[in-house]
């Protein structure tokens, strides 16, 4: 049997890179993308310099996947950006950039992936939200709005794509030691962690474990779900 083909967005650093290495270890053929070039490589890994919000670039990446592999089994919509700022001090350019990457990117990738997955009548799409949504995190209005939209997209895409054998689910991590929270003050992180049932920082493996569950062929009856980590 051919190894599954897994597309992961935002693989340059952080969660995306960890997931790419995780699925390479499990024998997947992994395609990754990021705006900036990556400084790492592995056997079985193909990288595309694609901005997830750029429709032309995204379509070109899927053409390449179709030519190289003829199929796509899994899409992990990990790419995301954040901005910690009070709404009264947030420029609209920041709001637009967050919505473009987090919402438009997730939509575009899911749409193009579904076209390819549909051919086989099988596919798994995993989106990324955040515990900032149920926690209604003050100081992250644009980010929370974008990640709420990702949950809404997950619900609707799950229904629209079910007939093609494609499931669409979502994972909502809490704080992790990544660049995304580099500039967030420690006090803010501590307050956030205190609202979780399990008040610790998440790990890359916590996320990989949740994504593993959604990707399993046996999870074909699980769709439209969001799992928030840490007990939020």
């Amino acid at each position: 049997m051919d190894a599954p083909v897994t597309l992961i967005t935002g693989t340059r650093i952080g969660i995306g890179r960890h997931l790419a290495e995780h699925y390479l270890r499990l024998g997947h053929r992994v395609v990754g993308c990021s705006r900036a070039p990556v400084d790492w490589t592995r056997e079985g890994y193909k990288h595309c310099g694609t901005d997830v919000a750029d429709e032309k670039g995204v379509k070109a990446m899927f053409s390449e996947i179709r030519r190289s592999y003829g199929r796509l089994d899994h899409l992990i919509n990990n790419a995301g950006i954040a901005s910690m700022n009070h709404s009264l001090l947030t420029p609209t350019s920041t709001v637009s950039a967050i919505l473009a990457t987090n919402v438009v990117g997730t939509f575009l990738l899911s749409r193009e992936a579904a076209k390819l997955m549909k051919r086989k009548g099988y596919g798994r799409i995993v989106n990324f939200s955040s515990v900032a949504v149920p926690l209604k995190l003050a100081g992250e209005a644009a980010y929370v709005a974008s990640k709420s939209a990702v949950v809404a997209l997950t619900h609707v895409l799950a229904r629209e794509l079910a007939e093609f054998g494609i499931t669409v689910n979502c994972v909502g991590p809490g704080p992790l030691a990544t660049n995304l929270i580099r500039s967030v003050p420690k006090q803010t992180i501590d307050r956030l962690l205190a609202q979780q049932a399990i008040p610790r920082m998440g790990t890359f493996d916590d996320i990989a474990n949740t994504v593993d569950f959604f990707l399993r062929p046996e999870s074909g009856f699980v769709t439209g779900q969001t799992i928030y980590l840490g007990g939020v």
Binding site: P91, S93, S183
Partner: protein, 112 residues
């Protein structure tokens, strides 16, 4: 567009940083009177506002920046937005000191 022109743009190049610094100091003093803000008695362009030994917490910063935006509109007739993606960053914030905020406000005014 971050900025909306209310009327013909004034020739703000003749207004130096000093005028905007005074405008910011006036607003800090008003916040001291109306909202009990604890600020140093002597304020000048080198006074730290936010981060380090700054006297503003994040909510007081929001209040001051919005008050300065409104005061600039009243004084210069131009609606500027002083919102900035680096607002909460203690290293790169344009709100670190009164002087930095004045420079930033002038820059936005000139961009008119």
């Amino acid at each position: 567009m971050e900025q909306a022109q209310l009327e013909a743009p004034p020739d703000v190049t003749h207004h130096d940083v000093h005028q905007v610094v005074e405008l910011i100091i006036d607003n800090v003093n008003q916040l001291k009177d109306t909202q009990g803000l604890k600020a140093p008695a002597q304020l000048d362009s080198a006074t730290t506002l936010f981060g380090g030994d700054g006297f503003l917490d994040s909510m007081a910063l929001v209040t001051l920046v919005v008050a300065v935006e409104q005061a600039i509109e009243e004084k210069f007739g131009t609606n500027v937005s002083l919102a900035d993606p680096g607002a909460m960053s203690q290293e790169h914030s344009p709100y670190r000191t009164i002087g930095a905020l004045a420079d930033y406000a002038l820059q936005r005014l000139r961009a008119g």
